[in-house]
Symmetry: C2
Subunit: 133 residues, 2 copies
């Protein structure tokens, strides 16, 4: 049988306008507060890393549409994946969608880890959004 | 914190043209062989059910683009979800994508079940595709 590619998708309604969420997604001092420490820049092809206690993630910006969408590679150890953020304006603020694609069926620890991890990162982002008016 | 909506996404490269896969997705006698028994019709708004030993799924066609995309609701017990199939022609055949969206964080049994289930359904579809030339 063929090999599947698996993705993790989480969507959350946030009571903030897209511009505010966009800042949390793209400003390194804010990214550090909810995700990881890194040298992100909102430029196509920009390479950056995200660093945590457990190791680091190598990233390269693959798509950027200010206030609307942002995509970067997310490579760590033997995982080659892509993270895509999409912001949909809603009546109450923004519907934020995170998709991480590229998990192989035998990479269950990464796959399960992402399923558990992204909601926690979103919780942390919400705290940043609430505290940084 | 806000409530997330979770999705399961599985993509698989199949060595068959989109038209052949489209038939497996839309012809009831083929659907029955790899998914469940049901009265699907490729018409917007068509309501149908899929029946298995464990119960049934209530569906309604929400989008249809012959040979390219098909979306229907997938409601069972207290799950309200949407299944979307997308077919991308590739050099070797077709890249088939299934996305089921609408899982709530507290619906882990459904979420885990879909993660395990769709690859198995795709295995069964592949057998049908191989045997029905």
């Amino acid at each position: 049988m063929s090999v599947d590619t698996l993705s993790v998708v989480v969507e959350r309604d946030l009571p903030y306008p897209p511009e505010k969420i966009w800042r949390a997604l793209t400003q390194p001092h804010l990214i550090e507060e909810w995700l990881m420490k890194g040298d992100f820049q909102p430029e196509m092809g920009h390479r950056f890393s995200l660093r945590a206690d457990w190791g680091s993630v190598n990233c390269e910006v693959r798509a950027i549409e200010p206030g609307k969408a942002l995509s970067y590679t997310w490579d760590t150890k033997d995982l080659r994946s892509i993270v895509t953020w999409t912001l949909f304006p809603s009546e109450t603020g923004t519907r934020l969608r995170i998709e991480q694609t590229g998990f192989q069926p035998e990479q269950q620890p990464y796959y399960r880890g992402a399923q558990a991890g992204w909601p926690r990162f979103l919780d942390a982002m919400e705290r940043v959004l609430r505290e940084r008016n």
